[in-house]
């Protein structure tokens, strides 16, 4: 308990940065994943190819490697300088976007084909077929797995600690400078993560019950 209280500034700073990483990456990943997901189900061949290539490559690359490339490779390219924090956000978003895209795609695929055919048969144009028939149903199927994606993202933010970002996973380094036992600090960090994941899981269950499809 002393380790936590005496170094409260470190822990708050760390988890503040973790939450910043999490929220910005979540928003960017949602937008990017939405675009890639749309590409993957689009009728245009080249869009599908681009989407498939992106998802297959990034999903099969470890997040650590993407982070590695952003943190060590990017500065060598003489492009505008970006802070390690923002590079970590980019890496997390690029990685998580593939999972968002796949979740959206499988959500759309859960809607039975007959729904779309019926919508077209009664003469609804594409826009109305999407907004009135398909997306409302897909949205409900997507909520629980999407929350799982965000839970994974929250846990993945710790990887940034290995690449010069002062966030929860890096609290240990600063603690050992102050001569505190590493294990106590790490256990506190783990506990806070368990609580945060618990909150997200609770939200997931709530939303799931709220939006359950009666089929």
């Amino acid at each position: 308990m002393d380790t936590l209280l005496n170094n409260f500034d470190l822990f708050t700073e760390g988890f503040k940065n973790t939450l910043i990483l999490f929220s910005f990456s979540a928003i960017i990943a949602l937008v990017l994943g939405g675009v890639v997901g749309a590409f993957r189900v689009s009728p245009v061949t080249s869009m599908r190819a681009v989407g498939t290539f992106y998802v297959n490559t990034i999903r099969n690359t470890p997040l650590t490697l993407i982070m590695f490339f952003c943190a060590f490779g990017y500065p060598k390219l003489q492009l505008p300088e970006i802070s390690y924090m923002n590079l970590a956000i980019i890496a997390l978003s690029v990685y998580t976007a593939t999972y968002v895209a796949e979740t959206l795609r499988s959500g759309i695929n859960t809607v039975p084909l007959g729904q779309a055919e019926a919508a077209r048969a009664i003469g609804l144009p594409f826009g109305q077929t999407m907004t009135l028939i398909i997306l409302p149903q897909a949205f409900r199927a997507v909520i629980p797995p999407m929350m799982s994606v965000f839970i994974a993202l929250l846990k993945n933010t710790t990887v940034a600690a290995g690449f010069s970002v002062m966030e929860a996973g890096a609290v240990k380094n600063y603690l050992s400078e102050r001569g505190e036992p590493a294990i106590v600090g790490l256990l506190w960090v783990a506990l806070v993560f368990i609580l945060l994941v618990g909150v997200l899981a609770f939200l997931q269950r709530k939303l799931e019950n709220m939006w359950k499809v009666a089929r």
Binding site: N60, P62, L65, V159, I194, A201
Partner: protein
Amino acid sequence: MTSLLFDAPGPRAKRLNVLLNVVVLALVLVALVFVLWQFYQTGQFESRKWSIFTYPLVQQSLLRATVATLQAFAVGAVLSLVLGLLLAIGRMSAHPWVRLPCMWVVELFRATPLLILMMILYYGLPPLGFTFITPFIAVVTALTVYNGAVLAEVFRAGVESLPSGQSEAGYAIGLRKSQVLSLVLMPQAIRAMLPVIIAQLVVILKDSALGFIVTYQELLYEAKRLGTQVQFGSPIIPAAIVVGIIYVGLCLILSGVSTWLERRLRRSPSSLVHKTTQDISQVQL
């Protein structure tokens, strides 16, 4: 081609599709040229930076690093499958004093970030007297407990997706609880969950890269080491590209096995298998 979202295109849509194809290809081309140009400008394609990979010693050390990654993956995968099975059986036990601890273990380790687990093992335990912990042990143990907890949920979801008639029939012909589980439920559950299990194995392979942060000498560690060789002009980007290709290749092989298995299972007459994999393929990432 008909799909959920669009009908077979008519003449107008076909024209539009051609236009969009051209636009997308042009955009991709522009992006690609920009990236390659930037690489070229900063000398990433200099022969000096790539020549490092022509040395047999470097190739050997890359191979050693790949083997180290595969070792952590293989040991971690086998152990987490075993642990996952044990925890799943424990969680489905009828005795609360077995079920509750197993449930807590699963929930706790699933919610802890893997990197924090590795750090606890590698940095936290040695000062307490556990001096035998090498990076390899830390990586494998963390991979095992984390993925064991995740796989336990996968196994359990597989068993619970089976119709209750399966276990009832087992009991009706006089099987014991353990026999029902091992002869009736588990074989079907594992078959149904095979694609998800293999997807989780891909995750283990990817997560073994976290070992880099706790100084396990695997592929990324090797990339960092090669990338900081000053006499070759610090080829960190070439090294990252080479290691990236190795990782993507390894993961694609595993994913390929998963897709192949899924297709095989889908062809099988049991509609049950087909249904459950679809339902549960989103359980874990």
